[in-house]
Symmetry: C2
Subunit: 263 residues, 2 copies
Amino acid sequence: MSALRIALFLILFSFALANENPDAHVFPRPLVIEYPENIEPRFDDEVRLKCASWRFAGEANNLNPWKTIPEECAGYVKDYMTGKGYESDLLRASEEAGVYAQNVELGGDGKDVWVFDVDETLISNLPYYYEHGFGLEVFDSVEFDKWVEKGVAPAIKSSLKLYQDIKRLGFKAFLLTGRSDRHREVTVENLKNAGFQDWDKLVLRLPEDHVKSATTYKSEKRSQMVEEGFRIVGNSGDQWSDLLGSSMSQRSFKLPNPMYFIP
Amino acid sequence: MSALRIALFLILFSFALANENPDAHVFPRPLVIEYPENIEPRFDDEVRLKCASWRFAGEANNLNPWKTIPEECAGYVKDYMTGKGYESDLLRASEEAGVYAQNVELGGDGKDVWVFDVDETLISNLPYYYEHGFGLEVFDSVEFDKWVEKGVAPAIKSSLKLYQDIKRLGFKAFLLTGRSDRHREVTVENLKNAGFQDWDKLVLRLPEDHVKSATTYKSEKRSQMVEEGFRIVGNSGDQWSDLLGSSMSQRSFKLPNPMYFIP
């Protein structure tokens, strides 16, 4: 079982890092999951229009809380996530973040911080959601934890590049995740294997944080950073609950995620 | 000239209100502007993908400040604004706002407020932008003022419905616009002719506000509302500068607008 895990990890890891051409569609195609590529799109123009508006509403934080993607949008979301759209949107978000970061004048006192969320921001759980309807199934924390504990989530390539640029520019990288602190070890291992190095802080949820909404938990943690004298200059996350609340970053970058919603 | 203005207005107004079927594409097709419909799309899949990511980045507030739309996206933005996409996205944003509004428990003291931006939120300047490249030309305040002074901007139908629902539910409707106070009269006339009635406040920019960014100006005005004891429960706007800053609303609804950016 352990050998299988290592093999699976190596396959994913090699794909995550192997291709140096940023235009190649290395993600998420190389995942070691069989998928029938030749199915005809299961939706017409009207459904596509409706689902595009639903996705836009989600990304602009207009949607009321939701637990699963609309059933009629299952094909649309699958196409978006496995086609070129998701990768292209991820790239653009990180490119804009990179341009902003380059133009920030750092204080020179080591207090300028970029906050990164982890799941769907630095590393991708797409292999898991690939097997679970891309958000069509109600979230199953037991099943998802099993996936997390494998520690094989691949890097989001454009985020890895932004992360490396941020570090090179002299920002502190603070990782702020909704993952439980009991997954610290596997998360560290996963992040390192995906190519992330030298973060300055990794904040995970302690038992007392589990009852809080992500917005509250992350706001509290950002407020602590500010109290410690750090300036939160940038923040990358795939959920609005990564970005909104108190002690907000000077600029926030919302990465796409039409698969799930965390309040 | 005056007769022409009245005729133009009547045409626009009748289209804005005439069609009771929400699925009909009454907007913006009926505008009295000749447009060559038969031109082939001037962009391929790669440009479409890139421009879709640019638009997503704008709507998610990821873009760095910009003055014109990317030249390669001129055809893409035109298609979006004049096709079904824009109308569909507008509708979804207001529908979600309506669902939220219906589930808010009002205080019963007349202090619950919904803040609306005006341009591209309640009424549409699409006839103007139709003639000016949909954001491809640098904004020309002299030309735009001429358009504003005509007072013929049509209602955004889905916003008019939301506005009426909001009023019916018992919210106060506060209109907060970046328009100059010297355009108060024509703005009032335009809003009324477009079907908006009985707003509780209409805040326009006074001379001292013109140096401020929209974010600062609107934050100050929202703070005044809060100081006066109002609770800002909802906020609709097509710019993030309508929604972010201080004294933010409990929920915000970002309407689509890929044509221009106001900081």
